[in-house]
């Protein structure tokens, strides 16, 4: 490791690749652990990133997750190309889901993804354009 505290990495997510869903977030978790990040921060980032990654896999064609770490905070930016979200307020409601029964049989799509991301982030922003895609900005502070 050249610099133990500053880091920037980009990961690509393939839409509909259910088998590998979550692989990137567990990789991010490993990177943060290796950097010696506080375990509670690692857990919150990993959970938020995992939910966001699953949303890309479920709904988008493809996406990109950017991880940035500095001494103050860990940020995750998730950008996807996909259908976008028509009504963000509705999508943020716990239990609201547009997942198919097949997705739910695999354990996806409880309608808790976006609320879970917000719950585990210190800062959360979501921007979406129908038929274009969605962008999430998530940050977790390094110190409580």
């Amino acid at each position: 490791m050249d610099s133990p505290e500053e880091l920037e990495s980009v990961y690509l997510v393939a839409g509909r690749d259910f088998i590998n869903a979550g692989r990137i977030s567990t990789a991010i978790m490993d990177v943060l652990k290796r950097l010696g990040t506080n375990p509670e921060v690692v857990r919150r980032v990993a959970i938020a990133s995992y939910e966001a990654e699953m949303n890309v896999v479920m709904y988008a064609l493809r996406g990109k997750i950017s991880l940035r770490v500095n001494p103050r905070m860990v940020t995750i930016e998730v950008e996807d190309e996909g259908p976008g979200i028509e009504d963000i307020d509705l999508a943020m409601k716990e239990g609201y889901s547009t997942a198919t029964p097949e997705m739910q049989e695999m354990g996806f799509g409880a309608g808790m993804g976006l609320p879970n991301i917000m719950k585990h982030a210190d800062k959360f922003e979501i921007v979406s354009e129908v038929s274009k895609g969605t962008r999430l900005f998530i940050s977790v502070n390094q110190s409580a």
Binding site: F18, I19, N20, A21, G22, R23, S25, T26, M29, P39, R43, A46, I47, Y50, E51, M54, Q104, M106, G107, F108, G109, A110, G111, M112, G113, P115, N116, K119
Partner: protein
């Protein structure tokens, strides 16, 4: 009927014996379990799971192992005789998430562990 004795925690080995479970992967079964949750939806596990919790689930998928890793769980018990396939087992090994398999339903599995932990 024997009266269950209240215990604060159970080890994974005790849980294995209690359920008559098969151990698919688990290097250290002396890990103590104080909290147990049952769920088949990954978001529920992420939302309600606490570090060190044991998960009872009917989902023998790679995502469930990743979910357990992300949530910091101590292990997974597959219910209703479900078996992990090779790739799931390899992932469990990689992530060091013990997997047990119980022949019972989710309800019965949870009930037995609850009785042993709560002593009623």
């Amino acid at each position: 009927m024997p009266t269950p004795v209240k215990q604060e925690t159970l080890s994974l080995a005790e849980i294995r014996d209690l359920l008559g479970a098969e151990v698919f992967y688990g290097e250290d079964l002396s890990v103590k379990v104080g909290e147990v949750g049952a769920a088949d939806l990954m978001s529920d596990v992420l939302n309600l799971g606490k570090p060190g919790m044991l998960l009872l689930t009917g989902l023998a998928s790679a995502q469930m192992i990743r979910t357990a890793a992300v949530a910091g769980l101590c292990g997974v018990v597959l219910v209703r005789g479900k078996r992990p396939d090779k790739s799931v087992l390899a992932l469990a090994r990689e992530r060091k998430i013990p997997i047990l398999g119980a022949p019972l339903t989710m309800f019965e599995t949870a009930g037995l562990i609850y009785m042993a932990l709560a002593g009623r």
